[in-house]
């Protein structure tokens, strides 16, 4: 396989975007990425979206988007892996370029969640329909059960969970594309409305409309474009049982650990070499367990590490400088691509107030369901 670069990025602001349709959102992000790269065509595209059928009643979206982008005829495919759909789109684009089949491929993600659907129902379709959702369990409910198991096993505290949200809002406050650009404190999180005990409203990522796109290209193309680009050093994935109850350790996310092991091996790096990370904090507990699975801390120690400031901007390893899913917003299909965009900005040195000094190596971790899928990318700055 040949080496692959990301040469362009583009996204819409994340939020409740009542005036934008699914297709509009995607086209805006895709055009921004194409313009950023300065390419005059693309050879194909992959679009991550979790459930456009249930959210807005539209399937067959890849052709729709190609048409609406003014590129009828271009090969396009929709990929789905629940909340990891965007990361999978980037991974498919990576493969197409790495294999030599394509030179310039667009990887995008989009979700229009605020169009009247029963969002809690739609999101729960990423769980086992017949054996989890049938009993009334929701997505926050599944992560709440992971949180309860983690608290029970390791003594993780309610305060430590809240500190994840506080940190991510601190970062999102500095991100012009974030849905909730506001700082919050620990007490506000701990007194917010109960959603699924012990998780409260401010432990949960919001319901968001948005789209994101990146242009993936061969190194030859990247060098010719003479613009800043980053190298995809690793693209790794792993799956796990869909149902949480089928896993041996309910306080763990084994798919993250497996994907991380593969990614570190591919890139030839260890976790301590990574300068900045975007991880899938769909719920505060998720960020803690993911930190443990990525090898940033020992099992059970993530809560204390977050409260001690290890993952803040300026800390040992900044995590979710974009504000994460929590503050930036979580349009499910777009999230994995937006994570890659944040890391590209960091590696370009273009992250403004959120910039991590001398960031050379970044990681994105995007996860589907309650950990039934996980895709990880490691990106490297090219001078």
């Amino acid at each position: 396989m040949r080496e692959v670069a990301i040469v362009g990025i583009g996204m819409t602001p994340f939020g409740e975007l009542w005036q934008d349709s699914l297709r509009n959102l995607f086209a805006k992000a895709a055009l921004a990425a194409i313009d950023d790269a300065g390419v005059d065509h693309i050879d194909g595209m992959y679009i991550g979206a979790m459930s456009t059928g249930l959210f807005v009643g539209q399937e067959h979206i890849a052709s729709l988007m190609a048409d609406y982008l003014g590129m009828p005829g271009v090969p396009a495919a929709h990929v789905e892996s629940a909340c990891a759909s965007g990361g999978i789109a980037v991974r498919q684009a990576f493969f197409e370029v790495a294999s030599g089949a394509g030179e310039i491929i667009l990887a995008g993600g989009v979700e229009k969640m605020n169009d009247g659907a029963d969002t809690t129902y739609v999101l729960a379709t990423a769980a086992d329909q017949e054996y989890e959702a049938f009993h009334g369990v929701t997505f926050p409910g599944l992560y709440a059960m992971i949180a309860r198991a983690h608290i029970h096993k390791y003594g993780t505290t309610r305060e430590q969970l809240a500190d994840v949200a506080v940190k991510n809002h601190e970062n999102g406050f500095k991100n012009p594309n974030a849905q909730f650009r506001m700082k919050i404190d620990r007490e506000t999180v701990m007194n917010s409305t109960m959603v699924a005990d012990p998780l409260r409203l401010l432990d949960c990522s919001p319901v968001t409309d948005g789209a994101a796109a990146v242009i993936v290209a061969s190194m030859d193309v990247a060098k010719k474009l003479a613009r800043p680009y980053v190298k995809i050093k690793a693209s790794a994935m792993a799956t796990d049982s869909l149902a949480l109850h089928s896993r041996k350790d309910l306080a763990a996310l084994p798919a993250v650990q497996k994907a991380a092991e593969r990614a570190y091996k591919q890139a030839g790096v260890t976790p301590d070499k990574i300068d900045v990370m975007e991880v899938h904090d769909c719920f505060t507990i998720a960020e803690l367990v993911v930190m443990e699975e990525l090898g940033l801390v020992e099992r059970g120690k993530a809560g204390a590490a977050v409260s001690a400031g290890m993952t803040r901007l300026g800390g040992k390893i900044p995590v979710n400088t974009s504000g994460g899913l929590k503050s930036k917003g979580h349009p499910v299909g777009a999230t994995g691509v937006a994570q890659v965009i944040e890391i590209v900005e960091q590696l370009r040195g273009a992250a403004g107030d959120r910039q991590v000094a001398n960031a050379g190596l970044g990681l994105t971790q995007n996860m589907g369901g309650s950990g039934g899928s996980c895709v990880i990318h490691i990106l490297e700055a090219m001078s």
Binding site: D118, Q129, E130, Y131, G136, V137, A196, L244
Partner: protein, 130 residues
Amino acid sequence: MIVPRYTREIPQRYRLEAGKCKKCGYLAFPPRVVCPECGNRRFVTVRLKPAGTILTYTVIHVAEDNFAAETPFAVGVVETDDGARLTAQIVDCKPEEIEIGKRVNLILRRIRKEGHAGILQYGYKAVLQR
């Protein structure tokens, strides 16, 4: 959910029927075609013991539309005494009474009315052993 999708699962929902791997004894609930532990494809049908232990739980305050009228309600992961794991509502108790490690019995209850037709759907729920 339409009727065939519901009726297909009745052996599991009403009778806790699981597949026991003929090679390694792994209990698959619901039944599977391949054993995730040893790769064997031959199973024998067994009924799970309708009692077990709470491994983790939550109390749901915001539910999807089908369950919206029932909030708050508790849901947990239960390990049955023969070692299978499943998700079930924990009922007939106050949420404060639920703890990890507490013993439960699995009983047949109405789960919900589904869709516009209001099809009644039944299945197992957990009640604390007292």
